[in-house]
Amino acid sequence: MIELLYGPFAEFDFMRRALVGVIAIALGGGPIGVFLMLRRMSLTGDAMAHAILPGAAVGYLMAGLSLPAMTIGGLFAGVVVAVAAGLISRFTALKEDASLAAFYLLSLALGVTLVSLRGSNVDLLHVLFGTVLALDDSTLLLIAGISTVTVLALAVLYRPLVLECVDPTFLRSVSRTGTPTHLMFLGLVVLNLVGGFHALGTLLAVGMMMLPAAASRFWSNDITMMMLLSVLIGIVSGIGGLLLSYHAELPAGPAIILTAGAVYAASLVLGREGGLLWLAWPRRHLEA
């Protein structure tokens, strides 16, 4: 029985690689997801994930399924869309969510068209849904490097990042770090999406950020705890998803996201902080 849990990893090299990959993605993605959620940017993350597609597609057109070309293309496109959406919302009447929606629809259509120009449907599936079971050394190094940079950068940015969410006016009155912090945070989001993109594809990469983060909100009122929980939930979902895909012969990327979704659903129902069960059967009120 327990064999089922570690057997696949002991037996197959590609499963071990996938395991390392998802753990690294969870380490960086969880805390980023928590901040995206608390900054009410959950959908921004989603839109930016799509925005990466045409950049990666251009890289693919020029160099095929090459890691550096698609990474650089994706990073470039992600940053361009993030900055453009920010500028448009600042200087026109369009709010940021509307301009992001416009950009991501364009990006998705453009990206799929670009990939189809040269590649097969298999390549398109690769770009859209990733290949977590086929991570080579350099991709693993890239993902692990991105997680390392993310965790370190968050440690440095933590204070202004929290302050900018809670009380931006106050941060502006005591320091000028607000805008650079925001920009660096957006940079980290793009980085993590590009890392996740190689394993899970543009459409699902954001799932390893938002689902663990959203689930953690139901268990804690403390941001540090939420970040730890989101990492833990991400890792558990990654392992669970890989096992599910192995034993049930499901595609690995969607299996991982489905597992994370199941953890989210369970948290939504059972979570101590505002879970549905506790709302439906509240305990008796206290004296004070």
């Binding site: 608390l38 204070r159 009380d167 106050f170 941001i223």
Partner: protein, 250 residues
């Protein structure tokens, strides 16, 4: 002694949005260590004036000199502070933000500053609330916490924008004690207020403003019935055909 030095000096200051003035040609100074109330009707430019002093709004014309503040950051409590109350943060952490100028981006807080945080919480009557999430605070408790944060900022100049609006009598009295303490410590305090009784009881100096400054000086003289009536009349309607202001243009 503080009569001699100005904490904040206004030199023909016009502040506004677009080209429309909200504060029109304000000239004068706020003495270092003084306790000043800014009074006037809604739309008179009171909050705009504070934003101008803090520097979030740049004057359309004229200068604001913060000579007396000696480069230290101003402690500013905006009207209805745009705080995300749903953010998972404890009261302690919210208050400890006041230590920013000491601890900065990375600095640890240390035992000495922990004592400071506890003292600040005690001064505003929030002992026992340290671990509570800010989402559970009432309006008055939130205002107490924000005053504790101001205390920790330890700034020579403190600006308060309608700090007692929608706050009950007990909380107002407690927080006014904090204001009196700042005054006793020779800090410069400027507060936008609507309750004229509070102004008369606590604030020696008053600036009465209705876009144009109406009167400025000793509270008793400024808040005369004639001045208050003038202030009421002065908030005119928006004029779509307003001509460029010629005052001081030469």
């Amino acid at each position: 002694m503080h009569k001699n030095s100005a904490a904040i000096r206004f030199d023909e200051v016009t502040l506004g949005y677009g080209r429309r003035p909200a504060v029109h040609h304000l000239d004068g100074e706020i003495a270092s260590g003084s306790l000043t109330a800014i009074v006037g009707p809604n739309g008179a430019g009171k909050s705009t004036l504070l934003k101008g002093i803090v520097g979030t709004l740049r004057p359309l014309e004229g200068r604001i000199d913060l000579t007396g503040a000696a480069g230290a950051p101003i402690a500013y409590l905006p009207q209805a502070a745009e705080i995300d109350r749903s953010f998972p943060l404890s009261v302690y952490d919210l208050v400890a933000m006041g230590l920013w100028s000491r601890a900065g981006l990375f600095g640890g807080i240390g035992a000495k500053n922990r004592t400071r945080v506890e003292q600040a919480l005690a001064s505003v009557g929030l002992i026992g609330f340290e671990r509570r999430p800010i989402s559970t605070l009432s309006g008055g408790q939130m205002q107490r916490a924000l005053f504790a944060r101001l205390l920790l900022q330890d700034s020579p100049v403190i600006l308060l924008d309608e700090p007692f609006t929608a706050i009950d009598a007990k909380t107002t009295a407690d927080l006014l004690d904090v204001v009196r303490r700042w005054h006793a410590e020779s800090r410069t305090v400027v507060a936008v207020l609507h309750d004229l009784d509070t102004v008369k009881r606590v604030f020696p100096q008053t600036l009465l403003i209705a876009r144009e400054p109406v009167a400025w000086g000793e509270t008793q003289e400024v808040l005369s019935p004639e001045n208050l009536l003038r202030a009421r009349r002065m908030v005119e309607a928006y004029d779509p055909h307003a001509a460029p202001c010629e005052r001081g243009a030469a």
